[in-house]
């Protein structure tokens, strides 16, 4: 398999090294840069498939670098930052980044995100094409209604029959909040008695299978005090 180049940019050399080790274990080729200018130089001379970049850096800070990269290339960019506030995240994404990971990162989650973005960028390059018939798309999730199979990053997810029913219900109505009673009635097709636990157990199991970090789910969310929903993602870049 052809090795894919990933550019890791951070002014903290130890962090760059740690990420490099992590990604090399996953089988990627890692290019290292320690400030924004260096990153741009490396990008100009190497075929890079994905960029991991820190925000606070000398010479050229991360967000400016993201903007400069975006001027020329459409490769996935994941921003790493010690700032965990919501506003920082929104700012990063609006600058053109594809994803945002807070420090200290969870190594497994970081690896999963890199893999997800690469898969979508390389194997599913036609992601912008209009969905085929019988295909429900939402971010990195695709549900094929005829096959009754959910794909995450193009890979089929193994779900039980009940879980598939729940996913189908939610994928057909992205963004809509379903109370536990309604989910129970429509999936189990009988009146619910204290359905909260049952539904929650299934939701948790599905999360384990589809979310990159099940503890901080991006897609399958609990709307506390109201119900459950699948977040409707912006049109993917």
């Amino acid at each position: 398999m052809k090795q894919e180049h990933i550019l890791v940019v951070d002014d903290d050399r130890e962090i760059v090294k740690a990420i490099a080790i992590l990604l090399e274990q996953e089988g990627y080729q890692v290019l290292k840069a320690y400030d924004g200018m260096q990153a741009l130089d490396l990008l100009a001379s190497n075929p890079v498939r994905l960029v991991l970049i820190d925000v606070m850096m000398p010479k050229l800070d991360g967000l400016s670098a993201v903007m400069k990269i975006r001027e020329r290339q459409n490769i996935p960019i994941i921003v790493l930052s010690a700032k965990s506030e919501e506003t920082d995240k929104v700012l990063g994404l609006s600058m053109g980044a594809d994803d945002y990971v807070a420090k200290p990162y969870n190594p497994r989650e970081l690896a999963a995100r890199v893999k997800s973005h690469l898969r979508r960028y390389t194997s599913l390059g036609d992601i912008n094409a209009s969905p085929a018939a019988g295909e429900l798309r939402n971010g990195r999730l695709v549900y094929r209604t005829q096959e009754r199979v959910l794909y995450a990053d193009g890979e089929p997810v193994r779900l039980t029959a009940t879980e598939t029913k729940i996913i189908e219900l939610l994928m057909r109505n992205p963004g809509r909040i379903f109370p536990a009673e309604e989910i129970y009635r429509r999936v189990w097709e009988e009146e619910a008695f204290a359905p909260e636990n049952t539904v929650m157990v299934h939701i948790r199991r599905i999360r384990e299978k589809i979310e990159l970090n099940p503890k901080e789910p991006e897609y399958l969310k609990v709307v506390w005090g109201i119900g459950y929903k699948i977040e409707k993602m912006e049109i993917d870049r």
Partner: protein, 778 residues
């Protein structure tokens, strides 16, 4: 030298101006006073410049009515009234007014002689009082009596001939050559009536009477002979000759009845005299006006000095107390009203007399009509002016001084001892404390009331005893009532103002209480609550500063925490990453693996602590963003329990949920509240006695939804207040996981969502209650 000249100039300018305006005023007033009664543009102007009395309307009227009388006497018909002298009424038939007047005069005369009025009339004039149809004899007797009355007045000669027979004449021994046209000595006016036409010769020249032969009203002669005023058959046999003197002399005759008398005067003399008098007045007026114009012209050259002088005079009069000026104003008003009243008074009497029925009301109505119509007013005004021109001048100049004073001393016109006293009293009052002011005001009102009642009683007593008359009593009563009401008004308006100021102050205090520290308005300087208001403003300022500093320090704190947590996270990232790699190493000795496990645990705990500290500091400073929405509190609790099912199953305790099935709607941020209950339940799982039960309940009480988490503590509990203090935990050793910020986060998150958070301990029972207001279901 220069200043002296200037001073002289000032004086001269003033004097010239004074005389000029005074003379113009006198002359104008005299002229107007003559013009108004004569009628502005009719006979008036022509009348007063006319030299010859025979050219006046009065003369013409007199001659016309005499001619009418004489024709009536000759034909033996009814004739007009015959009061030669001051009264005359033309026309061939009597009208109602002349009848009434005659009757009135007859009654007066009869009163004087003590006989019946009709008798008097009968006797004096040969006519009956009832005015019924008279016999020919009676009419002849009337004519005869009239002839006797006027025949002595040689200013007017007359001869009345009927059918060639001379009936009446006072021309005994007077002859003149008719054909030559020479009149007797001293007579220059000849009127002859030949039965059809009238011919008038004046100063030997025949006058054109008929013009084109049609009568069209004054100033044409109202005599028979016009085509639209023909003579009748009776008149055709009448011939009349009248001679009027060029310069009438005084004549009077008195006729005595039974003890009474009627005097008559020569009307012609009066007319001539009036013409002379009017000419005299005219001359005076014109002289005055001319002199005034000269002075006014001179004053025009000194107009700049005059203006300066006006300023100087204003400065001088400005020093006079207002009380003095008030006297002048009263004097002026009294003079004006007095003058008007004296002239009106006679009219009132006349009106009373002519109202007939003797009622004052009717008289007053007629009087008011006469006096207050514009012409009536002018007539009276001219009377007043004609009688007292000096009064007019004084009135005018005093008014001028007053107006000048008002214009030049606008700000301090009212200055005087009274005003100074009022001001001093007010200043002294302001120095008193608020309470004293209020009490004094009420005491003052009480005293004034008592004094007023006493004064009224005294007045009533005086009036009852006859010491004062009604007018004086009424005046005194109204004076004291005015004073009483004035003082009452001052007290009440003062109290009202104070009340309004208290309101304002209360509003300001309320504003401070609600946290508005920006408004800096104070009460006005002359307010009795000024000091309080200033104090309040200072408190406000102090609060504002304090609040501002607090906000600033809170913000700095949050910034500090944010920076520190960021700085901690960067090395922490490396630690966690490399510990992770260490964990993957294989073939390490058992004890090293143990060390690595400890490192892993502690680094994770440090991470969660950093995050919690950051969250708490944000929430505490009110900067925690919340997304409030309507949600079901019960569902939130059930979801939280379901979410934590695994943890609960792994723990040694059991969780009992007592949550109502129906929706309990509250308004809160679901994510934040999940975090709150997650912390609370985690705490309960962690610190509960093994095998005990944790109760999660939801109750509705009043308008609130109260969620409780109760557990039995494994260790002895200490004082309540410390639990939510940051970093306080069930045990002091701090060796287990968790940041120690759980309760603190729960509390600050709840409060950020607008809920209440309460901790209660009872022996080993630990209870947390989270309360929200229930929203009405739509």
């Amino acid at each position: 030298m220069d200043t002296k000249l200037k001073k002289w100039k000032l004086i001269v300018s003033c004097t010239v101006f004074f005389f000029g305006v005074s003379l113009l005023l006198t002359g104008g007033a005299a002229l107007i006073s003559q013009l108004i009664p004569a009628g502005w543009f009719g006979d008036g102007i022509r009348g007063i410049v006319e030299e010859d009395y025979q050219n006046t309307g009065d003369f013409r009227n007199y001659i016309e009515s005499r001619l009418a009388d004489f024709i009536a006497m000759a034909t033996g018909g009814e004739r007009g009234t015959w009061f030669d002298g001051h009264y005359y009424f033309g026309g061939y038939s009597e009208d109602a007014f002349s009848e009434t007047l005659m009757q009135g005069i007859a009654e007066e005369a009869a009163d004087a002689v003590g006989t019946d009025s009709s008798d008097f009339l009968q006797e004096q004039y040969g006519r009956s009082g009832d005015g019924g149809e008279k016999t020919k004899e009676q009419r002849e007797a009337e004519a005869k009596a009239y002839h006797e009355t006027i025949r002595g007045d040689k200013n007017l000669y007359y001869r009345i001939i009927c059918d060639g027979r001379e009936l009446y004449s006072n021309m005994e021994g007077i002859t003149w050559d008719k054909s030559s046209g020479n009149l007797p000595e001293g007579y220059n006016f000849l009127l002859t009536f030949d039965g059809e036409k009238v011919c008038i010769t004046k100063d030997g020249e025949e006058q054109d009477i008929y013009g084109d032969g049609y009568y069209r009203g004054s100033p044409q002669w109202y005599v028979p002979g016009y085509r639209n005023f023909m003579t009748d058959e009776d008149m055709k046999k009448v011939q009349i000759t009248m001679l009027a003197a060029g310069e009438p002399v005084y004549y009077s005759s008195v006729r005595y009845g039974k003890g009474g008398y009627v005097s008559t005067e020569s009307r012609l003399y009066r007319i001539a005299e009036w013409v002379t008098y009017r000419r005299g007045i005219l001359g005076q007026s014109v002289a005055c006006l001319l002199a005034g114009a000269v002075f006014a012209a001179a004053g025009f050259f000194f107009r700049r000095e005059r203006k300066e002088a006006a300023v100087k005079i204003g400065q001088f009069t400005g020093k006079i107390w207002f009380e003095g000026k008030l006297l002048v104003i009263i004097f002026l008003a009294a003079g004006l009203s007095g003058a008007m009243r004296s002239s009106y008074f006679s009219e009132l009497q006349e009106a009373y007399a002519s109202a007939g029925d003797g009622s004052w009301l009717g008289a007053a109505e007629m009087w008011a009509e006469a006096v207050f119509s514009p012409s009536g007013f002018l007539y009276n005004f001219s009377d007043v002016v004609a009688e007292n021109p000096a009064g007019l001048i004084i009135f005018f100049w005093l008014t001028c001084l007053l107006v000048n004073d008002i214009c030049k001393n606008r700000g301090h016109f009212f200055d005087g001892p009274l005003r100074r006293a009022v001001r001093m009293a007010r200043t002294a009052e302001l120095k008193q404390p608020f309470a004293v002011q209020t009490v004094r005001r009420f005491v003052c009102m009480a005293i004034v009331s008592i004094v007023f009642v006493l004064a009224a009683l005294l007045l009533a007593f005086l009036a009852f005893e006859g010491i004062t008359n009604t007018m004086e009593t009424i005046l005194a009563f109204f004076f004291s009532l005015t004073v009483f009401l004035g003082i009452y008004y001052r007290c009440i308006s003062g109290a009202r103002r104070q009340a309004e100021e208290i309101d304002l102050l209360a509003g300001q205090i309320a504003a401070v209480r609600s946290g508005d520290c920006l408004e800096k308005e104070c009460l006005p300087e002359d307010s009795s609550l000024r000091q309080l208001s200033e104090d309040l403003a200072e408190i406000r300022q102090g609060m504002q500063t304090a609040v501002g500093e607090q906000i600033k320090s809170e913000r700095m704190k949050v910034e500090l925490v944010a920076n520190v947590s960021h700085d901690i996270r960067t090395p922490l990232t490396s630690i966690i990453s490399y510990v992770q790699f260490l964990k993957q190493e294989e073939g390490l000795p058992e004890h090293v693996m143990d060390y690595i496990r400890i490192l892993d645990e502690k680094s994770q705990r440090l991470n969660s602590m950093v995050q919690d500290v950051f969250a708490v500091s944000k929430a505490a400073s009110g900067q925690l963003p919340v997304e409030m929405e309507e949600l079901d509190f019960g569902k939130l609790l059930r979801q939280t329990l379901a979410d934590m099912e695994e943890q609960i199953r792994q723990s040694t305790v059991t969780v009992k949920a007592q949550i109502p099935e129906h929706a309990v709607l509250i308004f809160a941020d679901g994510g934040r509240m999940y975090r709150v209950f997650q912390n609370l339940i985690q705490n309960a799982l962690k610190y509960s006695l093994e095998g005990s039960r944790v109760f999660v309940t939801l109750k509705e009480e009043g308008g609130s939804a109260l969620a409780g988490v109760k557990n039995t503590s494994r260790q002895e509990l200490y004082a309540v207040g410390e639990f939510t203090d940051r970093f306080v935990r069930g045990d002091e050793s701090r060796t287990d996981g968790g940041s120690g910020l759980g309760l603190s986060i729960a509390k600050s998150f709840t409060e950020a969502c607008g809920g209440t958070f309460a901790i209660e301990t009872n022996a080993d029972l630990f209870m947390v209650t989270v309360g929200f207001r229930i929203r009405e279901q739509r």
